[in-house]
């Protein structure tokens, strides 16, 4: 029985640079974190998972379906959605409209419904806006629906991006540094929300994160990348103690137990 989400031997090179070297990754549920120093290949891995990059070799499957070769929108329609490291909202649209775009792959209306604007369209459109309100409330942006995304505060934009991803009804959510730029308290609130999502909706989440306190608290499992290779994987405590991980982050001498100057 294969896992819900599985990546096997994924390799990706850019010219002479190997960004990912035979990375294998599997997830059945819960929250898995991917950590690693800058340039380790974490975001590249996300881009491969969501169809923005095509890997040189290797396979990615979701619920048994191969994802390599599919377009990003097809992968989203299958139930894998993501957020971006450098917030990529639709800046000049309202918060609610951003969320409605996220629902695009779930909308079953055709050009004819749009042009005739019959009861089918009106009902469906009304339901979409209702759901947008519910999603806004879920991420703590109640009452902000009609604000232009660009005018929201930084933390609010991060949460709106999460709501937009949730709007596509994903089974697997990929979050690229969701707490970047947040205070410890804000990060804590967000992680509590993620935990709730996993509990209530049965969502699986892959998290790229730099905030170690967040990673250790929230993750069921941690994967460490360095120079495009997976160097460790396991429960947070174990990974934290792994000498190769300490070496990657702090250098060789720290890993061998000698004092760091």
């Amino acid at each position: 029985m294969s896992a819900m989400f599985e990546a096997v031997d994924v390799t990706k090179t850019f010219g002479g640079l190997t960004a990912l070297q035979r990375v294998t990754f599997a997830l059945d549920g819960g929250i898995a974190s991917i950590i690693g120093p800058n340039g380790a290949g974490k975001t590249t891995l996300f881009n491969v998972f969501t169809g923005l990059y095509r890997p040189d070799t290797g396979a990615v499957t979701f619920r048994g379906r191969p994802l390599v070769g599919l377009r990003p929108d097809e992968i989203t329609a299958l139930g894998v959605c993501r957020t971006f490291q450098n917030i990529r909202l639709f800046a000049n649209m309202t918060a609610a409209e951003n969320i409605l775009v996220g629902m695009h792959s779930r909308i079953r209306l055709g050009l004819r419904d749009v042009l005739t604007r019959g009861p089918r369209f009106v009902d469906a459109e009304g339901a979409l806006w209702q759901r947008a309100g519910v999603l806004l409330e879920r991420v703590g942006l109640r009452g902000k629906g009609n604000e232009i995304a660009r005018n929201l505060a930084y933390g609010e934009q991060r949460r709106l991006e999460l709501a937009r991803a949730l709007a596509s009804e994903p089974a697997l959510l990929l979050l690229d540094e969701p707490t970047a730029g947040m205070t410890q308290a804000e990060a804590g609130t967000l992680m509590a929300l993620l935990r709730r999502l996993v509990g209530e909706l049965g969502l699986a989440i892959i998290l790229i994160e730099h905030n170690m306190r967040v990673v250790m608290e929230v993750s069921d499992r941690v994967t460490v990348l360095d120079h495009g290779e997976k160097i460790a994987e396991g429960p947070p405590r174990e990974v934290q103690a792994d000498p190769r991980v300490i070496e990657a982050y702090l250098g060789r001498r720290a890993a061998t137990g000698r004092a760091v100057p």
């Binding site: 969501t50 923005l52 377009r71 990003p72 929108d73 097809e74 989203t76 329609a77 959605c81 993501r82 971006f84 990529r88 909202l89 639709f90 800046a91 000049n92 649209m93 309202t94 609610a96 409209e97 409605l100 775009v101 996220g102 629902m103 695009h104 792959s105 779930r106 909308i107 209306l109 050009l111 749009v114 042009l115 604007r117 369209f121 459109e125 979409l128 806006w129 209702q130 759901r131 947008a132 309100g133 519910v134 806004l136 409330e137 109640r142 009452g143 629906g145 009609n146 232009i148 937009r164 991803a165 709007a167 596509s168």
Partner: protein, 398 residues
Amino acid sequence: MIAATAAVAFVALSSAAVALFPRSILVFLLFQGSLLYAYVARIPGWLRATLLGAAVLVLMPVIGTYNGYYLEVATQVGIFVALALGLNIVVGLAGLLDLGYVAFFAVGAYSWAIFGSPHANVLFGGTGFPLPSWWFYPFLLIGLTVAAGTGVVLGLPVLRLRGDYLAIVTLGFGEVIRVLANNLDKPINVTNGPRGITPISRPPLPLEVSYAVGFYFLALLIVVVVILVNRRLEDSHIGRAWEAIREDQLAAQAMGVPLVRAKLLAFASGASFAGVMGVVFSAKQVFINPESFTFLESIGVLAMVILGGMGSIPGAIVGATVVTVLNLQVLKGLSLWLNELKNAGVTIFGYNLANLPTQLEPAKYERMIFGLILVLMMIFRPQGIFPARRRQRELGEQ
């Protein structure tokens, strides 16, 4: 209450004034201004609809009986409003800069011009053409379809392009269509080259109305349909997908928007509006040749969209009206007036205008003043006359 009275009085008085002074361009501008005022004034929706409806349905045709040229201006405004609304989908909503938009207008125009004139006999042999004039009406749909198809044909190869690159390719595409029209008189004579095609049949009109009135109402009807379609597209998942592509193409795709389909739909629907109006244009003009579809026409329509406010339906309408009226009336009137001063030998600051060198002829100011207006608008109101406003909606918040 005051605003309502003012709006009614403004519209009524200015239209009466046009009847009194049918030759005065200023008075006709006043009438147009009154419509703009009725649109922006704080008056009840029903009153606004009544005023604008009465103006375009009753007052304008009546004005046409006093000065037929004004009806021609209004018809041309209608044609350009539809073009601007079509381009607004491509450029304003989907953010795909199209510099060859008039090509679709040409495709629609030539589709009726060829079959609605004896020219098709040259092409197919026999004497079966022109088609009976009632074929004009089915050809509105045929022109639409052919133009939409051309939109898809243009869209397919440029899907990967964005911004400047896309602009250059569409510019080239527009030129290709014009050059084709110019040169496809041999080996097979499809377009009759630079000599153009004439006479193009005009449609049979009900109630024995004149062609001027008939084309005015036809253009008006199409504009109304185009506005309706535009609004429905904009206010749906399709329109939101277009705007998402404009804002961030990569994020839009990652959120589930199929880029290829959405972009092709934008190109096709924008092109279809131009195609329909092309059919109307060719019948109205009776004669068309490639000169009507130059690069400058594409730029003119783009200027309408930008001047009015990108992505805004009222903006595209007002932009198209302002630019068309400027070109057909204000600037022409201005240069005529300057010319009169010159011929009369009026002296300004001790300088006799009759001595003006020919390089400085007033007619040459037209383009310059138009350019100046564009530059000033972009400096002082870059968002356009009626910038796009976000829809505010009630959300399902408990």
